[in-house]
């Protein structure tokens, strides 16, 4: 009696219809996504930064966790595709989480929403919505618990590809709180899928998840060893709670051991890229001079994020449209 999950994210033709996780997606599909994002990046440079692709469609940003930054880039992406955008910030504290989620989305679906962009504190929330609430509405995961943040991963991949061409000969280091990071999980999967031969994670053991080797990464506990000759450094945000829960003694000890400074960055290749999903904690995981320095592409990442989200939205809408037609033909 085995209970195997199905390919929730893809339609019968293998096109993206939801974007929930990098896991299970092919190199071809991720490459297509990056190519499409490249085209949208060009749109962002025009006088009119808008295309009529999703005209008449309604995109709902349903955020159960507050994040103005992420919500804004999704909103801008949807608007640049000419979609109507509805923003909902739903506090989870007032009512029972589950009922809110299920009922809210059913209501929105009844209002003829065509796409949900969902951020939720529970790992698997986006899967739940795509599988149990509204499979015919494209669901885009904008971050679920510690599980996945696939659009962030793809904008990181676009950043790397635009600055380094491809992934074939790269060494990429991810530094910091891997354990609690959905960005790190999605990035490890994306880098591996796209053929990056040397993925390194650098953290103390308290911030590393069990079974990290399943991602095909090399683990370093010493930043000064791990950063040696890397092409890309992805820093992660460190939450203040980590000090209270006994995972780390203090911010300053963490900064001393794992902070990216001019001195530690010098161990990487001379032109190594510095990336960060934001918002950055200056002086906690990264030195101001590095965050604002010539090797930093942190602000570029934001720009690329809009193009990646436009690509994801238009591809998922395509997958849903095609699936709907396949269903009609089958009936």
């Amino acid at each position: 009696m085995s209970l195997t999950p199905h390919h929730l994210q893809l339609n019968q033709q293998g096109q993206l219809r939801h974007f929930l996780t990098i896991e299970g997606l092919s190199r071809e599909l991720l490459t297509e996504l990056l190519d499409t994002a490249d085209s949208f990046l060009e749109v962002g440079e025009r006088a009119v930064k808008k295309v009529p692709l999703l005209r008449g469609k309604t995109v709902c940003n349903v955020f159960f966790e507050n994040s103005t930054r992420t919500r804004t880039t999704f909103e801008l992406a949807a608007k640049r595709l000419s979609a109507d955008v509805l923003n909902l910030n739903i506090s989870t504290s007032s009512t029972s989480k589950g009922e809110t989620l299920y009922d809210t989305l059913q209501n929105l679906e009844a209002m003829a929403a065509d796409m949900f962009v969902v951020r939720h504190g529970d790992s698997g929330a986006a899967h739940f919505i795509a599988e149990r609430v509204c499979p015919d509405v494209a669901v885009i995961n904008a971050g679920d618990g510690n599980h996945a943040h696939p659009t962030q991963a793809m904008l990181d991949m676009l950043t790397i590809r635009r600055h380094r061409g491809d992934f074939e000969n790269l060494s990429v280091a991810i530094v910091g709180d891997i354990l609690h990071s959905r960005v790190a999980r999605s990035n490890m999967l994306a880098l591996k899928t796209l053929g990056c031969p040397d993925i390194r994670v650098i953290a103390p053991r308290t911030l590393l998840p069990e079974g990290i080797d399943q991602y095909g990464v090399r683990v370093f506990n010493d930043l000064r060893v791990g950063l040696r000759d890397v092409d890309v450094v992805i820093m992660l945000r460190l939450q203040k709670e980590r000090m209270q829960s006994g995972l780390l003694p203090s911010e300053s000890e963490f900064y001393k051991l794992y902070g990216l400074t001019r001195e530690t960055l010098a161990l990487a290749k001379p032109d190594a890229l510095v990336m960060h999903p934001g918002p950055i904690n200056r002086g906690v995981e990264i030195e101001s001079e590095v965050a604002d320095g010539p090797q930093s592409v942190i602000l570029k990442q934001v720009t690329y994020g809009i193009a990646v989200r436009m690509a994801v939205m238009s591809m998922a809408m395509t997958g849903q449209t095609t699936q709907r037609q396949l269903n009609q033909e089958a009936n």
Binding site: L3, G124, R132
Partner: protein, 424 residues
């Protein structure tokens, strides 16, 4: 009411009886095996050729949800489900609302289960008031009201000192304590086995050490206090080793595992099905293998359903927000029989894990076929595969096996000579 079951393969693990024969029942008791007694004329016959007749199953952990959680289940609905699973004797844990920490609650459960008449319900009392781990319940009064054992379930004791005193008090009166070891601090916030799968899914992990640390403490205190102890719902390979060691040292500890733990493992969580959210969590494939071996070797004497029915809404949420538990009492026999189908156990040994094994663990007079004893008998077709969930009776449909195939189907359940379940 006189009944004859004709031509069944009668298996009684307690007496190692295994023959094709007839069973004669009168006034709720087993009258004779083989030839009918002189002058016996049944007013009902069951043609049981091709079927197996075994003692009604004994399930050590069935949440009935009454009193307090009528949306999830009731004594009537869940004992009906139990009958469909071939279970005629079941123990219900004390986590009702109010908690089963007073004789009044025990009496209410016994009264309602007698009224329902589907199965023998044996309540398990709360070790501490409100399961809060501080003040002892009135254990002797609860025993006198019908509680067969006492437990904290997964709720922690206030301190090791209080635990030790509770065990000493229970030992004074020869009471049995049931442990489900899980260190609350190590398990804090967790919802899945700490391992590669939970890491990949971003689910907070519960390390194996949450179980083994608590188990080690419990074993030491059991040894010190001499209390009669049973472990319920163990999950890890390491716990199996520790249990085997303790038994080898002569410590009279028994154990059960949840039937679903023998079939599922953490890798099944890929896809985030909240139906697979259970507590303690599904562990690794290696742990599952060790659990199956322990059931095979007899280190684990009992398989229990750990039945936890829920209303649909409790599972219609993301994995992390869902209520843990699987509704499984009505598939206890089919799930156990997969062990026979997999070649792990012979039929009589497999049946002992759901009859004599659990009965002996708590010292219950059930789980065997004896002349003059209560006619608690389960009949099933060993050659009839069935689809699980066809006629689902539990109020909780939270079962990941619904729609899957099972190797056998229960055809009749007799409780005290009364036919409480029959297919068709």
């Amino acid at each position: 009411m006189r009944l004859t079951i004709e031509g069944a393969r009668v298996i009684d693990p307690a007496s190692q009886f295994d023959e094709i024969t007839d069973l004669h029942i009168a006034a709720g008791h087993i009258l004779a095996l083989g030839a009918a007694p002189e002058g016996f004329s049944p007013n009902q016959r069951i043609d049981a050729r091709g079927l197996i007749a075994c003692p009604g199953l004994v399930d050590l952990n069935v949440s009935l949800r009454e009193p307090g959680y009528s949306r999830k289940g009731s004594i009537a609905s869940e004992t009906r489900a139990a009958a469909a699973g071939g279970v005629t004797t079941l123990c219900c844990p004390p986590d009702s609302r109010p908690v089963l920490d007073t004789p009044a609650v025990a009496e209410l459960i016994l009264d309602r289960s007698q009224a329902a008449g589907n199965a023998r319900v044996l309540p398990i009392g709360a070790l501490t008031k409100g399961l809060e781990g501080e003040q002892l319940s009135e254990l002797v009064a609860l025993r006198d009201a019908g509680c067969v054992a006492f437990t904290q379930g997964l709720r922690p004791m206030g301190s090791n000192r209080i635990l030790r005193r509770a065990l000493e008090y229970a030992a004074t009166f020869g009471l049995t304590i049931i442990f489900t070891p899980q260190d609350a601090d190590l398990a804090e916030g967790g919802m899945a086995h700490e391992g590669p799968t939970a890491s990949r899914l971003g689910l907070v992990g519960i390390p194996e050490s949450a179980e083994t640390v608590a188990l080690a403490r419990d074993l030491l205190l059991i040894e010190q206090t001499g209390v009669r102890a049973h472990f319920s719902g163990l999950t890890s390979a390491r716990a199996m080793d520790m249990l085997a060691d303790a038994q080898a040292r002569g410590l009279p500890v028994t154990a059960d595992v949840a039937a679903y733990q023998l079939l599922l493992c953490d890798e099944d969580l890929t896809g985030f099905s909240s139906q697979l959210h259970v507590m303690p969590p599904l562990r690794s494939a290696d742990d599952r293998r060790a659990l199956r071996q322990a059931v095979q070797s007899g280190v684990v004497q009992a398989i229990a359903s750990h039945h936890q029915p829920h209303e649909a809404e409790a599972k219609r949420v993301p994995f992390a927000a869902s209520a843990p538990g699987i509704s499984s009492v009505e598939i206890l026999l089919p799930l156990t029989m997969t062990l026979v189908a997999d070649g792990l156990l012979e039929m009589p040994a497999a049946l002992s894990r759901v009859t004599t094994g659990p009965a002996a663990a708590l010292g219950l007079s059930a789980g065997q076929l004896s002349l003059g004893g209560a006619a608690d008998i389960t009949l099933f077709d060993p050659a009839q595969a069935c689809e699980i969930g066809r006629n689902w009776l539990s109020r909780g449909a939270n079962c990941p096996f619904i729609g899957k195939g099972a190797p056998v189907a229960v055809t009749h359940t007799l409780y005290g000579g009364k036919l409480v379940y029959q297919t068709h």
